[in-house]
């Protein structure tokens, strides 16, 4: 099986040549970056058309990243949920998440473009660790920008990145979190664009990033589609995923876009609840605007100033979302809903107890949302539905949060 899942279909025609899905996407960037984005778009197109590049990427995913990841039928969980649940086990990839696919693809592309240096932004450190991993593997210099608040919250991941040879730069501007780390990475890129590739961590940003990242992660859905056909003899009734910037979700959805009967559900972080305003649900709780280079949905106030997001899950704690999801939301092809911290943590516990799998809290949002839509699906179909749930990552990184949430830590450990 091809792990990278290249190949075109009708959905693969989007975005258009200027990076737009309808009115979403595009390039809202300083002119100084346009030449670099053009160079990247050309390199991406050429790489995708090059059998040699695709074969090398496939081999890296197979031999190094442990892909294709299994599609695992979770029998006890299925009982509890009332659906046939197939878990797409991205948590079993090297570095423990779907993100390894994106970083390997981009690092390979950077090398092909002759850029010896990569920079990355990171929130909790997951993408930073993945980027540092790919940089070590492909012998590239790596600088990771991380909000100063996050470097303190995630000291262990800072150590991991440094262990892998990366330089971690704490960002002390703005809200000192992920969005400010992206701003700082963009500033670095404007300044050092000759020798540097910006290894963006999700399917967002200016063209060609959303399409390029999608192409590197779409193997998730390509594999799951084939695995589901083999295991069940049919396509799933639904595919679900959590949505932060949107990479694991677009990776899971993309191969199914033309399969009209397959419903696609994206679950955003509802934080403390939509009514509280403390959430990270840009599609369900935001408005259309421009942030980090693309027109999309984002959390903003009446003046168009970005509003800070809130989620128990660092990977979903981002006030915007990739433009392809904005398009799928606006056209209704995918259904997006918000899942609260509490719902996600309940699903996190359920998966741990029924299957012996401690997943990332991000991924627990996908499971919690799935549990909410299963009764609707069952009613609409008149039978027990089959659902592919994208388990985007493993939960080792989240044990302090979970331990605190469930009161599992001794006083002195908290």
């Amino acid at each position: 099986m091809s792990t990278a899942g290249h190949g075109s279909d009708a959905a693969g025609q989007r975005p258009d040549a200027t990076g737009h899905w309808g009115r979403f996407g595009g390039r809202f960037v300083p002119e100084a970056l346009v030449a670099a984005l053009d160079e990247l778009a050309d390199a991406h197109a050429a790489a995708m058309a090059d059998d040699g590049f695709r074969a090398e990427f496939d081999a890296m995913l197979r031999e190094y990243a442990n892909c294709p990841s299994p599609l695992y039928e979770a029998r006890r969980l299925s009982e509890a949920v009332g659906a046939r649940v197939l878990l797409k086990r991205e948590d079993l990839n090297h570095t423990g998440a779907h993100k390894v696919r994106n970083v390997l693809g981009q690092a390979l592309l950077a090398r092909r473009m002759g850029k010896p240096r990569v920079i990355a932004e990171t929130g909790a450190g997951q993408h930073g660790v993945a980027a540092a991993t790919a940089a070590a593997y492909l012998d590239l210099e790596c600088v990771v920008y991380m909000g100063e608040v996050d470097t303190r919250r995630q000291a262990l991941n800072v150590a991991r990145m440094r262990m892998l040879g990366a330089t971690v730069v704490p960002v002390d501007t703005g809200s000192r979190t992920l969005k400010d780390a992206i701003n700082e990475a963009l500033r670095d890129w404007v300044t050092n664009v000759d020798k540097t590739h910006y290894l963006l961590g999700t399917a967002a940003g200016p063209h060609p990033f959303p399409a390029m990242v999608r192409d590197f992660v779409r193997g998730i859905g390509v594999e799951a589609r084939e695995q589901c056909l083999v295991a069940t003899g049919a396509l799933p009734d639904a595919v679900t995923a959590c949505v932060g910037g949107g990479s694991n979700a677009i990776g899971a959805f993309h191969a199914f876009l033309d399969d009209a009967p397959v419903r696609l559900y994206g679950f955003e972080a509802g934080g403390d609840g939509m009514a509280t305003g403390r959430h990270a649900a840009s599609l369900t709780g935001g408005a259309v605007g421009v942030l980090h280079g693309a027109r999309t949905y984002l959390l903003q106030d009446d003046d168009g100033q970005t509003v800070e997001s809130h989620s128990i899950s660092a990977g979903l704690d981002y006030p915007a979302v990739g433009p392809e999801h904005a398009w799928l939301h606006a056209t209704g092809r995918a259904d997006y809903r918000a899942v609260t911290d509490a719902e996600a943590m309940e699903a996190f516990a359920l998966l741990s107890r029924t299957e012996g799998i401690i997943c990332a809290i991000e991924s627990a949002h996908a499971l919690a949302g799935t549990m909410r839509v299963v009764p609707e699906l069952a009613a609409a179909l008149g039978r027990r539905p089959t659902v592919v749930v994208t388990l985007s990552g493993r939960g080792d990184k989240d044990m302090t949060t979970a331990g605190t949430w469930f009161g599992l830590l001794a006083e002195g450990d908290r």
């Binding site: 200027t18 595009g26 390039r27 809202f28 960037v29 300083p30 002119e31 100084a32 346009v34 030449a35 670099a36 501007t173 703005g174 969005k179 400010d180 701003n183 963009l186 500033r187 404007v190 300044t191 664009v193 408005a287 605007g289 421009v290 942030l291 980090h292 280079g293 903003q300 009446d302 003046d303 168009g304 100033q305 970005t306």
Partner: protein, 267 residues
């Protein structure tokens, strides 16, 4: 006054124009207005009013800190328009420098209408390239506003020509690859970029910004550009108090009146 009138006046005096950037609302809306009036009095030909924004990717630390402080003090888009109105009344043309989302949120045509009504002359749009600017191009025509896009040393000749063709008022040449902020030296790439802009055949004035911090640098840039754009250095000066701001502006104004001859074309 229009941007063109200000450039014509400078040209008639045989000198480059001095363009001064300050953010609205810094340190407060009222003090920001005072500061902008002070730079006009001290010799600035044109004022760029910065609209403070939460995610200023083109700005270096000095302007970031100032705009963040302005937002923290409660500066809103309405205060920016109020600032434009108060400064335009002081007799220099005023353009607004803004990231795109606040304009889009306000409504592109509504923003253009209200900016024109406040006496504003146009917009500088650091993260809006002409490729994405359809709505703004139309609104600028409707409300007779100047539109100042940025060009960069990395822009291809084809892009330079296309961008310059959509500019009105002047062309903003970013002299260095990088963010705003005072540097020790102005860029060697700047004269070449100005030459390339002029080679498109445009008659628009070309302003050079990013990196000018003192009289000597202003004199250097005035040797080859139609306008010297100064931001971070003025914001720094304002942080030290109104007296320092006036002093620096007067220095810069003296600099543009004593231009150094253009550097050799080879660099």
């Amino acid at each position: 006054m229009s941007v063109t009138a200000a450039f014509d006046r400078a040209r008639a005096e045989g000198r480059a124009a001095l363009v001064a950037y300050l953010p609205a609302g810094y340190p407060s809306v009222a003090e920001g207005i005072e500061a902008m009036r002070a730079v006009v009095a001290a010799g600035a030909d044109l004022v760029e009013v910065g609209l403070p924004y939460s995610d200023p990717v083109m700005d270096g630390p000095v302007i970031q800190r100032a705009t963040q402080a302005a937002l923290g003090a409660g500066c809103r888009t309405a205060d920016v328009l109020r600032t434009v109105e108060a400064v335009a009344a002081a007799g220099a043309p005023v353009v607004v420098m803004t990231y795109w989302n606040p304009v889009e949120r306000y409504g592109v045509d509504s923003f253009a209408r209200d900016l024109a009504a406040a006496g504003g002359a146009g917009l500088i749009t650091p993260d809006l390239i002409p490729d994405e600017a359809g709505e703004w191009l139309a609104a600028a025509d409707t409300h007779d506003l100047d539109r100042i896009f940025l060009v960069s040393p990395s822009s291809t000749d084809a892009r330079l020509a296309a961008t310059v063709a959509r500019c009105r008022g002047f062309v903003y040449a970013t002299a260095v690859m990088g963010v705003t902020g005072a540097r020790e030296q102005t860029s060697q790439a700047a004269p070449e970029l100005v030459r390339r802009v002029r080679a498109t055949g445009t008659t628009l004035p070309v302003g050079v910004g990013l990196g000018v911090r003192d009289r000597a640098q202003a004199a250097t840039v005035a040797g080859y550009a139609d306008a010297v754009i100064v931001g971070s250095a003025l914001v720094d000066a304002l942080a030290s108090g109104p007296a320092r701001l006036t002093e620096l502006t007067a220095d810069l104004a003296a600099g543009i009146r004593t231009p150094l001859s253009p550097p050799p074309a080879s660099i």
